[in-house]
């Protein structure tokens, strides 16, 4: 049989469609998912296809290329991150007990939450820093590529049915106050106190394409780089390396590692079991 006409599995055709769709998103809208880990991107795109009731990923590409109003919804599928406040309480406990004593020695602090999604981690860190008396001297930079996520993060409103878990996590993280001190309940929603974001800058920033924007004492980027392929992970870790002050701290997700990174040598283990690293002296 002619090789060009030989049968291919349906998923191989889908792989071609995914590549073309990601290229289209990049060329048309400058959103670059081409170096995201493919297996997860595929699941998310197939969910979007089903949601929009389209027969194929090619049809999805056709729609989004010609209909910019569809982009935010598609971005929601491609970037949505379900998180919790104080997710992995032991991580926040390690920040509280082991990292903050070092940060206390600085007169002013900059903290970057990279890939802040709907803001759960931003409010967690703001509360932690307030409990530890460091909030007033800290500027927080919360960044994401998804404008809807940034708006949600800035609003700081979460469904009340999630609060029980948030509260439990906060207690396990060594919380010195009650989480209920920081929100008001309103029609099934918890509205977080706007004073928590007094020192927070919410901003569009891409780990794929944007550059260093400040010198940080702490960067927290959790469960973001698992969605990247190796070269893109290297880029992100390089950006963190160049953004950290001398002896600055980097926290990543509990199942992520710098071990395979090109920049591993620039970081020393600080709390290895919680994946908190410290920038080595250059």
């Amino acid at each position: 049989m002619d090789a060009a006409l030989s049968p291919v599995a349906p998923h191989e055709v889908e792989d071609i469609e995914i590549q073309l769709l990601l290229e289209a998103l990049f060329q048309r809208y400058h959103y670059d998912f081409r170096h995201y880990a493919r297996a997860s991107i595929k699941r998310r795109l197939l969910q979007a296809r089903t949601h929009f009731g389209l027969p194929s990923l090619t049809a999805l590409q056709e729609r989004v290329l010609h209909d910019p109003e569809m982009l935010p919804q598609l971005l929601g599928f491609l970037t949505v991150q379900v998180s919790e406040m104080f997710r992995d309480p032991a991580y926040f406990r390690a920040l509280r007990e082991q990292v903050l004593p070092h940060l206390r020695t600085y007169p002013s602090l900059k903290v970057w939450i990279a890939g802040c999604s709907a803001g759960e981690e931003v409010y967690s860190l703001a509360i932690l820093f307030r409990e530890e008396g460091l909030f007033d001297r800290t500027m927080f930079y919360a960044t994401d590529i998804n404008p809807d996520a940034l708006r949600a993060a800035e609003a700081g409103v979460y469904s009340l049915d999630r609060i029980r878990k948030f509260t439990e996590n906060h207690q396990k993280s060594g919380g010195r106050t009650s989480l209920s001190d920081y929100y008001t309940a309103d029609y099934g929603r918890a509205v977080f106190d706007k004073s928590l974001r007094a020192n927070v800058v919410f901003s569009d920033h891409s780990l794929v394409s944007d550059a260093v924007f400040g010198e940080m004492q702490l960067i927290s980027c959790r469960n973001v780089m698992i969605y990247f392929d190796r070269p893109l992970q290297d880029r992100a870790v390089g950006l963190f390396k160049d953004s950290l002050a001398r002896n600055g701290f980097l926290g990543i997700g509990s199942k992520e590692s710098l071990r395979f990174s090109r920049h591993a040598g620039a970081f020393a283990d600080f709390v290895p079991e919680e994946k908190i690293y410290r920038r080595r002296e250059p």
Binding site: A9, H11, D15, A37, R38, A39, S40, K42, R43, R44, V80, Q81, V82, S83, N223, I226, Y227, R230, Q233, G253, K255, E256, S257, F260
Partner: protein, 191 residues
């Protein structure tokens, strides 16, 4: 036509799964020729006890799956609690914290569907005991890609709903008792 040689084994289990896997994994020899990828539902806060539990009882190397890790034959990889486990096209493992699928994270469907893409007809899928229906769509995907499909006999399984759902989705799957599974697995990947 000879069947494609097996290249990987995926296993999904839920309620009763620890006991079922204790009847299977310790029986596999150290030179078992396939990587073994497992999703076992456990409560999210009972994190990561599985690999140590099984490592002490198995001839195979048993570990928790790491993101971007290449798979090796004769190694058992457990999905970490609270993360989905997927396989990339090049056979490397990937983790995700995307939303729950079938109320589960890790989800059996997520592992099986991505592994079916990666390994095609070289994949063997096995659904064991469980009280929900995760794994049914995944096993169907394994069959659609040309892989081998096995289901623990619901009649003797600790919990029937999961193997029953898998059989409804994938009627051609081979049904076997827990006692017989190790013997069948030992025959895989042999020339």
């Amino acid at each position: 036509m000879t069947p494609d040689p097996a290249r990987a084994l995926v296993i999904g289990a839920s309620a009763g799964g620890v006991q079922a896997l204790l009847a299977i994994l310790p029986e596999l020899p150290a030179d078992f020729p396939l990587p073994v990828l497992i999703v076992l539902h456990v409560p999210a806060d009972r994190s990561n006890v599985l690999a140590p539990l099984f490592a002490s009882k198995c001839a195979l190397t048993v570990k928790e799956a790491e993101d971007k890790e290449p798979t090796q034959p004769g190694v058992v990889y457990f999905a970490p609690s609270d993360y989905h486990l997927l396989v990339e096209a090049d056979g490397a493992l990937a983790l995700s914290s995307d939303e729950l699928v079938n109320y589960s994270r890790p989800s059996i469907d997520v592992l099986f569907e991505s592994a079916a893409d990666a390994y095609g007809a070289g994949l063997v899928g096995l659904v064991l005991t469980g009280a929900n229906e995760d794994g049914a769509a995944g096993l169907k995907a394994v069959a659609a890609a040309g892989g081998l499909t096995f289901v623990e006999d619901p009649a003797s399984a600790y919990a029937r709903p999961m193997p029953e759902a898998a059989l409804r989705a994938c009627p051609a799957a081979q049904v076997m008792s827990l006692a017989r599974i190790p013997e069948v697995l030992k025959g895989l990947g042999q020339a």
